[in-house]
């Protein structure tokens, strides 16, 4: 049974494996010997286990299906009813499923052999991806979720980095809001990291982040990035020059 190992990665799933076993044993798909197939199927799962491969739950579902069919085969067959419609062979559903899967697998093979664009045949393309960004003025607005994600990354960076000292200065969100606006009045925009760079403990980072969220919500500042996955920058929203906080 060592021949399975070579093919381990080749199987797309339990149906693929079953088809392989059926073909290997030259079995008639309309008359599957359940004992043989079930045994070989389990041997294959064992091999997978021995190799420390995660056995996908799909394989386990099929394993129980096989056992179920096998046990039903052991039950005495009911006499066909008067109209000749006996109970259906418990293997029929599986056979149908296998034939259906096989049909699609053949269709997939045929599709793969077509002259595929960018693999076998080529056409004119638009400008190369690297040129797309050049001179582009598009600014993507950042959502709150992206901000939170960026914030999470920063907190992770802080994790384990013991702050030099914990001083419980009277640091409030309102203070941070004023500070951020003041800084943004001096420079055009700040990166997310710049906003947080000279903070010394988690409380300050969190305070600053809450202040930023508040400012975004009030539409005083705008968070944006020039391109997806780039640095998040913040700037004052147009029409909001000057400090909005008068408390």
């Amino acid at each position: 049974m060592t021949s399975y190992e070579i093919r381990l990665n080749v199987f797309e799933g339990p149906l693929d494996l079953l088809l392989y076993l059926i073909r290997k044993n030259e079995i008639d798909i309309y008359d599957i010997p359940m004992a043989v197939i079930t045994e070989q199927y389990f041997q294959y799962l064992e091999t997978m286990g021995a190799l420390n491969l995660d056995i996908a739950s799909d394989y386990l579902v099929m394993a129980s299906t096989l056992l179920h069919i096998k046990s039903r085969m052991l039950l005495p067959v009911q006499e066909p009813a008067e109209d000749g419609e006996g109970e259906e062979d418990p293997r029929m559903e599986l056979t149908r499923q296998l034939l259906e899967y096989e049909a699609f697998r053949k269709a997939a093979l045929a599709m793969e052999q077509r002259p595929i664009l960018d693999r076998d045949v080529f056409a004119r393309t638009g400008p190369a991806p690297e040129d797309n960004g050049k001179g582009r003025e598009t600014v993507l607005e950042v959502t709150v979720f992206q901000l939170v994600e960026a914030f999470r990354n920063i907190l992770v960076k802080w994790e384990g980095e013991d702050g030099l000292e914990l001083n419980r200065d009277s640091l409030s969100v309102a203070d941070r809001i004023r500070e951020i606006v003041n800084r943004l009045e001096e420079v055009e925009s700040l990166t997310f990291d710049e906003l947080l760079e000279d903070l010394r403990d988690r409380a300050q980072v969190i305070c600053t982040f809450l202040a930023l969220l508040e400012l975004v919500k009030m539409r005083v500042v705008k968070a944006f990035q020039m391109e997806a996955y780039q640095t998040i920058r913040v700037c004052l929203a147009p029409g909001h020059e000057g400090s909005p906080i008068h408390s």
Binding site: L15, D58, M62, R105, M111, I116, R119, V121, F122
Partner: protein, 173 residues
């Protein structure tokens, strides 16, 4: 006729996507549709008979100048790009969707016998499939279908060009 053929050839040359017949007609309103059709067919035929590195592919409801399969090795070398990988799982899933659309994720998984979430996600990202609607049953599950890009990539004029699925239905149904 010959001048019309030159115009059509040039139009196909400058386009970076398959050009529909409609689009060609719009561009050439002063010409008879029948003439355009004839010139186009003649052009396709000329490319076919000419032993050049190019041919005119009829894909996704349009016409596109493409390089012949016989020169693909040099194109790949020249482009310095690895051809896009289409895994077996991806093509299998595409096949189920192409033949069964509009189709639910649960139906795809029933046919394939494996969880297909990851494959569906990557096919969606690559724009080979799209969500075509929701089925009107509890939970309103998403229905999937193939895209124009799918036809372009797999060199299909339309879905009817797919070979018929071997008839598995005859069994017990």
């Amino acid at each position: 006729m010959k001048d019309l053929q030159s115009i059509l050839e040039a139009l196909l040359f400058v386009s970076d996507a398959p050009v529909t017949f409609e689009r060609l007609r719009e561009t050439l309103p002063e010409r008879e549709a029948g003439d355009i059709r004839n010139a186009l067919n003649a052009l396709v035929e000329e490319y076919r008979s000419r032993d050049s590195g190019l041919y005119i592919a009829e894909v996704s409801g349009g016409y596109q100048i493409r390089t012949r399969e016989s020169v693909r090795d040099w194109i790949r070398k020249f482009r310095k790009e690895r051809p896009p990988a289409l895994s077996r799982a991806a093509v299998e899933t595409l096949a189920v969707i192409a033949y069964r659309q509009p189709v639910l994720k649960a139906e795809i998984e029933k046919v394939r016998g494996v969880d297909s979430s990851g494959t569906l996600k990557s096919l969606l990202e690559r724009n080979l499939i799209r969500m075509v609607g929701r089925k009107d049953v509890p939970g309103k599950p998403i229905l999937y279908g193939t895209t124009r890009k799918f036809l372009e990539i797999f060199h299909l004029r339309d879905l009817s060009e797919l070979p018929t699925l071997r008839d598995w239905k005859e069994l017990g149904e």
